[in-house]
């Protein structure tokens, strides 16, 4: 491997968006079969760099880039992702690009469907070939097997849990026979740790086949585990480029933020006293595709932080979505002893609950509107905030100044990277969008806050910031929090109790200080099965 030249070299690449410099003279090289970890804070320019490499149209639309990108020593300048695909670059985007109405198989072999000649071929030529479905299915299954995961080839994308969508995307990229360079932009953000493990193992296998991989992740442990080399971006500069051997997570983190990072997040569960029961849920079922909740009962006391963990697809995400009225649900939910109807987001919000959705681009954001709209909207609609009377009180219209002030406040508090409160939400980096979603929920000053995957896609520094913020709201304003997360570590860091969801039911509730194997046992469903067997025996 050693002596051959790089297959990809990025030379002095710079990019600015309307004067805002995002990449500054970035250089690195990639050899066949090498796994390169690309890390950096939110907004450091990782996604932008990959978009340039992949010829995404946004780049040309916003003025192109400076510098050169060479494949096998030849300069390339892709004008569309199709050119990039033709040159053997595959990309798994930070945001999904699957067709919701198609099945797993159809998405995996999309545009490269297996064809079978039909009688019409003689007359009309190749275009009349029919799809060879059994063969397509076989290819899809092979790709899924290569990843070492369980996916139903016939399930519609729209009915899948996010984790499965992610595997489908990756499977799609590795079935392309030409692929030589595979770019994965935060592929593990939506996966639980165990699923991520499976993916990392798959990546190692792919790399052995001689495919070069660029791997972007905010979970630095994974980067250290899987990458051969790591490139650290900070404010658009590639400040480090070195082999991973001998580098620790702590080192990378401090390079990323430019100072040393405190190792541990806030400590949770110091055996606090809580107020009365705030939320009582009984017999909850939720029909959320891919995250079905079957029968869940729990209660939360005022001032408490309750965590929900569990594997993807087991139903933990369905719980807040059902209670907030976003998916059909049944059972009884009471807040302060008063019943809350289950099919009305408005009633849930008015009762004093708020929700940060895990689906930030789908339900979390108004991508085409400005940041101040995004943050103030819910508070305005539910509580009539940020309105001012005009024409002697005849009408009330938006209080733009108030919205601006609110936005500036949160931009400061959550350290959101943006050019102004009037910037469009779609122009922010993924992690900064996540912070906007949090700000929106904080702005309604809820009594009970549901947060779903609050740190998905955000960098180490920001993660600590978000967890600290949740912690602070809990301690200072007494906000009760129900947090759903795939990352056990962050649940253990701030929750008072952690419920593990398995097959749509609560498998057990543990204190954050419980041993890891205990959590593992509950997640794997073994505990439940053992219990069942004990009953049967």
């Amino acid at each position: 491997m050693g002596q051959q030249g790089p297959i990809l070299s990025v030379e002095h690449v710079s990019k600015e968006f309307y004067g805002n410099v995002v990449l500054n003279d970035v250089c690195f090289e990639l050899k066949a079969g090498e796994i390169l970890g690309l890390v950096g804070e939110n907004g450091a320019g990782k996604t932008t760099l990959m978009r340039i490499l992949f010829g995404m149209p946004v780049i040309a639309e916003t003025g192109g880039y400076k510098g050169r990108i060479c494949l096998d020593g030849q300069e390339v300048r892709f004008s569309s992702p199709f050119d990039a695909l033709d040159s053997g670059i595959g990309m798994v985007h930070q945001e999904f690009s699957l067709i919701p109405g198609f099945t797993t198989t159809e998405n995996i072999v999309l545009n490269r469907e297996s064809m079978r000649p039909s009688i019409l071929n003689d007359v009309f030529g190749d275009r009349m070939s029919v799809l060879d479905r059994p063969d397509m299915r076989k290819r899809a299954e092979a790709a899924i097997a290569k990843l070492g995961v369980k996916l139903d080839p016939d399930l519609l994308i729209s009915e899948m849990p996010v984790g499965h969508k992610q595997f489908t995307e990756i499977a799609r990229e590795i079935t392309r026979t030409k692929t030589r360079i595979l770019v994965l932009d935060e592929p593990t953000a939506v996966l639980t740790e165990s699923e991520a493990e499976v993916l990392l193992a798959a990546l190692r296998n792919i790399a052995k086949l001689g495919i070069a991989i660029i791997f972007i992740s905010h979970r630095l442990r994974e980067v250290v585990d899987v990458a051969d080399r790591v490139v650290v971006l900070r404010d658009g500069l590639a400040i480090k480029d070195l082999p991973v051997a001998g580098v620790s997570v702590r080192d990378i983190a401090s390079w990323m933020v430019g100072r040393t990072v405190a190792a541990d997040a806030v400590a949770g569960g110091e055996g606090r006293e809580f107020g009365d029961e705030l939320l009582k849920v009984e017999g909850l079922w939720v029909d959320m595709p891919g995250e079905t909740v079957r029968d869940v009962s729990f209660s939360v006391r005022k001032g408490e932080i309750l965590g929900f963990g569990g594997l993807a697809g087991q139903g933990k995400l369905g719980i807040p979505n059902g209670i907030m009225g976003l998916y059909p649900a049944g059972g009884s939910v009471g807040l302060r002893g008063k019943g809350v109807p289950l099919d009305s987001p408005r009633a849930a919000l008015e009762a004093g609950m708020a929700f940060v959705s895990e689906d930030r681009r789908g339900v979390g954001l108004l991508l085409d509107e400005s940041l101040d709209w995004n943050i103030a909207f819910t508070a305005m609609q539910v509580q009539g905030a940020y309105l001012r009377p005009i024409l002697g009180g005849l009408f009330k219209i938006r209080d733009e100044a108030g919205m601006r002030k609110l936005t500036e406040e949160y931009v400061g508090a959550l350290d959101i990277k943006c050019t102004s409160p009037k910037q469009k939400a779609k122009e922010l980096s993924g992690g900064n969008q996540q912070k906007i979603c949090l700000a929106k929920a904080f702005a309604v000053k809820p009594d009970l806050l549901f947060v779903s995957e609050p740190t998905r896609g955000i960098d180490v520094g920001a993660k600590k910031l978000v967890l600290d913020t949740l912690h602070r709201y809990n301690r200072e304003y007494g906000t009760t929090i129900v947090m759903v997360s795939s990352e056990l570590e962050e649940l253990r860091a701030i929750c008072d109790r952690i419920a593990i969801v398995d097959e749509g039911r609560i498998a057990g509730i543990l204190p954050p200080t419980a041993e890891l194997p205990e959590f593992g046992l509950l997640m794997s469903g073994l505990a439940a099965r053992n219990a069942r067997e004990a009953v049967n025996a």
């Binding site: 987001p345 919000l349 929700f355 339900v363 108004l366 509107e369 909207f377 305005m380 609609q381 219209i397």
Partner: protein, 351 residues
């Protein structure tokens, strides 16, 4: 770094090449007008007049675009409500401002009712609104073709003289409310130039009210529904109700728009006359730079002005130059060409 180049570039991308080209074309037509014997003052007066006549139709498209219902190709529904109001006003013999505002007031209940039904219907066909809207518009106009014949109107100004029943295709509003807005505070310069102050004030008032409305809580919710219905729903907004509201407002503005049009034009046009009107309005707002899911007051203003300017100047200059009447052909080519151009760019704007 030189700051001016990106600014000009930014301006051009914001304002858009089509608008700049049309603007220069229009300027060219004005420059050429005197040479082919078209009077400048009469032309400018004409442009203002048509701008005022049609402005409300263009404005009527804004709420539905903002709420995600797309371009209101079924604006004819609102126009029909306006026609019912104006014929009733004439039937009742209301005159002057009473006639005009009487027509508006009588049209409103119909507009609200029609808009409500039309809105409910569009909620059932999310994603196909524009196609369905077009059919609804056609169906409404055709249905009314029958109704105009059988409704028991008796005013001699309106019914066919020989049969004594059934409404005529064109009814004059002379002696009722012709030009009441146009003449209000009108400014005359020479024999050929009239500035229709009253009508433009009235248009301006409507635009201001809509502008205010879009800034209220409901208006903000409406825009959010158009921008991301899932987000709006999660914030406790009833998506369907917002969409229906936007359709009602659009229909009401269409109804008011046709009454304004009549008082300036001088006639009530019935039967198939409302068919073409939505297309002209759609073309105007698209020229003004609106997309299928975003429109602003600036788009309305610029679009109505450019489009009506083009419609006024192209035929008169070309007719005088060629000595034939091809004005209708030019109008059709320009408006439909623009609609096609804008719709093919739809995906690009949406992403």
């Amino acid at each position: 770094m030189p700051k001016s180049t990106p600014n000009i570039k930014q301006f051009v991308t914001d304002f858009g090449w089509p608008r700049i080209i049309i603007f220069f074309f229009l300027a060219l037509l004005f420059a050429a007008a005197p040479f082919v014997g078209v009077r400048m003052d009469a032309s400018i007066s004409d442009v203002f007049n048509r701008f005022g006549q049609n402005g409300l139709f263009v404005l009527a498209l804004v709420p539905m675009i903002q709420s995600g219902c797309g371009l209101n190709f079924g604006l004819s529904i609102g126009i029909i409500a306006g026609l019912i109001g104006s014929t009733l006003s004439v039937q009742l013999g209301l005159i002057g401002f009473g006639g005009f505002f009487g027509a508006v007031a009588l049209a409103l209940p119909f507009a609200v009712l029609f808009g409500w039904v039309y809105g409910k219907l569009l909620n059932k066909v999310k994603g196909e609104e524009m196609t369905i809207a077009m059919y609804v518009g056609f169906a409404g106009v055709m249905f009314m073709c029958i109704m105009w014949l059988v409704l028991p109107y008796t005013s001699p100004t309106m019914v066919w003289g020989y049969a004594g029943k059934g409404l005529r295709t064109t009814i004059t509003v002379e002696g009722f409310y012709r030009q009441v807005l146009n003449e209000f505070l009108a400014i005359r310069i020479g024999p050929n130039f009239v500035f229709p102050t009253g009508m433009l004030l009235f248009d301006g008032l409507c635009a201001y009210l809509l502008w205010l409305f879009m800034r209220t809580k409901t208006g903000t919710a409406m825009t959010a529904v158009g921008s991301n219905p899932d987000y709006a729903r999660a914030s406790g907004i009833s998506v369907d109700r917002m969409r229906t509201t936007s359709v009602i407002i659009s229909t009401v503005l269409g109804a008011v728009g046709i009454v304004v049009f009549q008082q300036s034009y001088g006639f009530i046009q019935l039967y198939t006359a409302p068919l073409a009107m939505p297309f002209a309005a759609v073309a105007a707002i698209l020229i003004g730079g609106a997309s299928v899911n975003k429109a602003s007051m600036v788009n309305v203003l610029v679009g109505a002005f450019l489009f009506q300017g083009l419609l006024t100047m192209t035929p008169s200059v070309i007719n005088s130059a060629l000595h034939t009447d091809i004005s209708e052909v030019v109008r059709l080519i320009v408006s439909n060409g623009i609609i096609i151009y804008a719709l093919t760019r739809k995906t690009k704007v949406a992403k």
